[in-house]
């Protein structure tokens, strides 16, 4: 009995202390509005954006119909989740975010039309959107002409930088170089076979990969490079060539539905991914959903985010995402990058103390987001994100297991010298 009393005496005090400490972080999470009045609309919005005393309007512009819908739906869901969470935490400068969603319909001119509508008609203070490079190229002149702010989530080929865009995904060098170094060092890989879908992102990425392989990796070389039209489903001939050349690494940048055919045919041809190293930068958890985990298990992917990342931010994010959109949803790299958009915008607006596009653009460099599921990120002067590069290995259950991550954040370099 006496033994039990001793800790009993201690415990209420300790519990109170613990409770008090636990409450500390909560203070910082209290909405700012409860301490101070929200700043006057006339002061934070001098250019006529859709900002009222209680609300601010942003746009969501993705394809929810057409071939890209399967990829872009995750981004829409992540952006809606972020907006809901920001609103629950008091909004932006004391204003709730209201969003207007438009459908780009997997059609680039439609993207341009809708972007114009969101900026000119709806006066959106920011737009979260686009997925493919083609859609971004279509809306970019619109955003520059009407001075809007676009948060673009997809990893892409680089070669672009705009005052009016924040690129929350990786540009090509961030995704490629660290992964190649890793596979060269740990697997001793010397020969690479480059594959890609035939458009600007895979071509530019393979160009950077080739320059890095030939120029920076000792004794390494490219033994083949091939491209396939979007939607291509017959990979037998290239698989035969791979069997002949026996490269150390298959470097695959095949996108969309073609992936399903490619990995199934690879497996059917007897190429065992547990023995043959395959490194991809285009297959996230979303694509594995379609490919089937058993067809791609053993392949390596180079991304900045995997759903399986083990950190408190990510656990909270994954459970909130599944609560909102269902247990069966998976979260890929781009979905996470899309989730960053609204948060980075909120942080930037609060840093700038204004919704004005020019002030937001100017305040963007240096904005940090510590709550990112991928870990700490920061906006670079070139409007891309500093972020880590990670290599994961696909498992049969459709998830990636983290194998390697860079020690430091990798600097974004959209116009890489010596790689063009």
């Amino acid at each position: 009995m006496s033994d039990e009393k001793k800790p009993g005496l201690k415990s209420p005090l300790r519990r109170k202390l613990l409770m008090g400490m636990a409450a500390l972080p909560a203070i910082s999470m209290l909405p700012r509005a409860s301490f101070a009045e929200a700043p006057a609309t006339s002061a934070v919005n001098t250019t006529g954006l859709a900002v009222t005393d209680s609300e601010v309007t942003v746009g969501i512009l993705h394809s929810v119909t057409g071939t890209m819908a399967i990829s872009e739906t995750g981004s829409v869901e992540a952006e809606k989740l972020a907006i809901e969470q920001i609103n629950a935490a008091g909004g932006v400068l004391g204003r709730k975010i209201k969003f207007i969603q438009e459908d780009g319909a997997s059609d680039w001119p439609t993207f341009a039309e809708k972007a114009k509508k969101l900026l000119v008609n709806d006066k959106c203070a920011a737009v979260m959107g686009c997925w493919t490079s083609a859609s971004r190229k279509a809306v970019l002149p619109v955003f520059e002409q009407y001075n809007g702010m676009l948060y673009y989530p997809t990893f892409y080929e680089g070669l672009e930088q705009s005052k009016n865009v924040i690129y929350t995904g990786q540009e090509a060098t961030q995704q490629i170089i660290a992964g190649l170094d890793w596979v060269n060092k740990t697997k001793g890989a010397k020969t690479f076979y480059l594959l890609g879908s035939d458009y600007i992102w895979p071509r530019t990425s393979n160009k950077i990969a080739r320059k890095h392989i030939e120029g920076h990796l000792q004794g390494a070389k490219v033994v083949g490079e091939e491209y396939f039209p979007l939607g291509h489903t017959q990979f037998n001939s290239v698989i035969n060539k791979i069997k002949l050349t026996k490269p150390d690494v298959i470097y695959a940048i095949i996108v969309g539905g073609s992936n399903v055919a490619f990995y199934k045919q690879l497996k059917a041809a007897g190429i065992d991914l547990s023995k043959q190293t395959l490194l991809t930068i285009s297959v996230t958890e979303d694509e594995i959903d379609g490919i089937g985990g058993e067809n791609i298990a053993g392949a390596y992917a180079c991304m900045k985010y995997f759903q399986s990342l083990d950190n408190p931010n990510n656990k909270a994010f994954v459970s909130a995402f599944k609560k909102m959109w269902g247990e069966k949803t998976v979260i890929g790299d781009v979905t996470q990058a899309a989730y960053l958009g609204p948060w980075l915008w909120k942080l930037t607006v609060e840093k700038a103390g204004s919704f004005d596009i020019d002030k937001v653009a100017a305040a963007s460099p240096g904005v940090e987001f510590k709550g990112a599921p991928e870990g700490y990120v920061r906006i670079h002067e070139n409007h891309h994100l500093w972020s880590k590069t990670r290599v994961g290995r696909a498992k049969a259950d459709g998830q990636y297991e983290l194998i390697y991550e860079t020690a430091d954040l990798v600097e974004p370099d959209p116009f890489p010298k010596g790689y063009q």
């Binding site: 929810v64 119909t65 969603q101 438009e102 459908d103 319909a105 059609d107 680039w108 001119p109 439609t110 341009a112 039309e113 809708k114 114009k116 509508k117 000119v120 008609n121 490079s133 083609a134 190229k137 279509a138 970019l140 002149p141 619109v142 002409q145 080929e157 070669l159 035939d198 458009y199 600007i200 071509r203 530019t204 160009k207 039209p229 979007l230 116009f415 063009q420």
Partner: protein, 379 residues
Amino acid sequence: MIINSRFFNRSELIGFVALALLLFVILPLSLDIFRLNLVAKYLTYAFVGIGLVLCWGYGGILSLGQGVFFGLGGYCMAMYLKLEASSVENTKIQSTPGIPDFMDWNQLTQLPFFWKPFHSFPITLIAIMLVPGIFAFIIGAAMFKRRVGGVYFAIITQAIAAIMTILIVGQQGYTGGINGITDLRTLHGWDIRTDHAKFILYFIEVVLLFACIIAAQFIRLTKLGRILVAMREQEDRVRFSGYSVANFKIFAFCAAAIFAAIGGAMFTLEVGFMSPSFVGIVPSIEMVIYTAVGGRMSIFGAVWGSLLVNFAKTSLSESFPQLWLFGLGALFIAVVLAFPNGLSGIWQDYVQPHIDRLLASRKSKPGNGFPVADGAPAE
């Protein structure tokens, strides 16, 4: 008036005046510049529609590849605009300044030879009509001389549309690939991105549209137009009467291609870019749908069809981002099932008789009981 008695009959005149009133007066006065620019975009498809009325409605030649000509016209214009936007000082961060940015990304160090003529504005204007025209002539000559027609012709045009897309996407160093040719700025030094420019471009386009309407109407009313209709109904009889059916078909097909190309060139100016997504099978079929909804036998119907279908597309997708495609699909099915002659069919069957009756009764009242027969004084 000459027009009243010969060129247009009364109902066509009403259609002409109503359309002119709408496009020249009502829309510019009532819409803001953003919506007006959208209307301008819709109208670019009307050019294709007019061509299709000639070639499909009158000539009976269904082409499922009009996107090719729309795209060729658009690309010709886009190449000119892109070269102008890629001046040496605009592109000095590139490894080869002075060439379009996508060429630089694809390691081209020199402007390809077929881009060079597009430095000149007059040559571009000629090329916009000539390139698609010659291309259509080659296809038409190859097909119609061999008496390929009907469904087979439609399938071949569709295949050409697919080939064209693959070609453009595959040769991205020369064509901009799937991204298309983007970031176009000035036309002969005139900034086409400003609101004022959009306003002027709209009127240029409407004037061109009416020029095309009149040209199409002219073709329709000449002997040529009558032969087209005859060919559609009884090709062999026309052939046995000594006419070269193939040549007339080639003509109709080329005319449709040139109309489509003008639309494509205007599209590039209005929207500010061109991409392979206007060249392929889907846009080509969509263009046929606009014409079908408007009524394939009516030149004005084609214009109304492109306007209304695209307007429905925009407004449905703004209100129901996830469901709009179903709504649009249902609309097509309903129109085709219930009104095979499209909107112009509805007009002729339901509205026109009322107007005629109204006009007839009005005219008969002040007169001394002489009822004017419907359409009698048309000639």
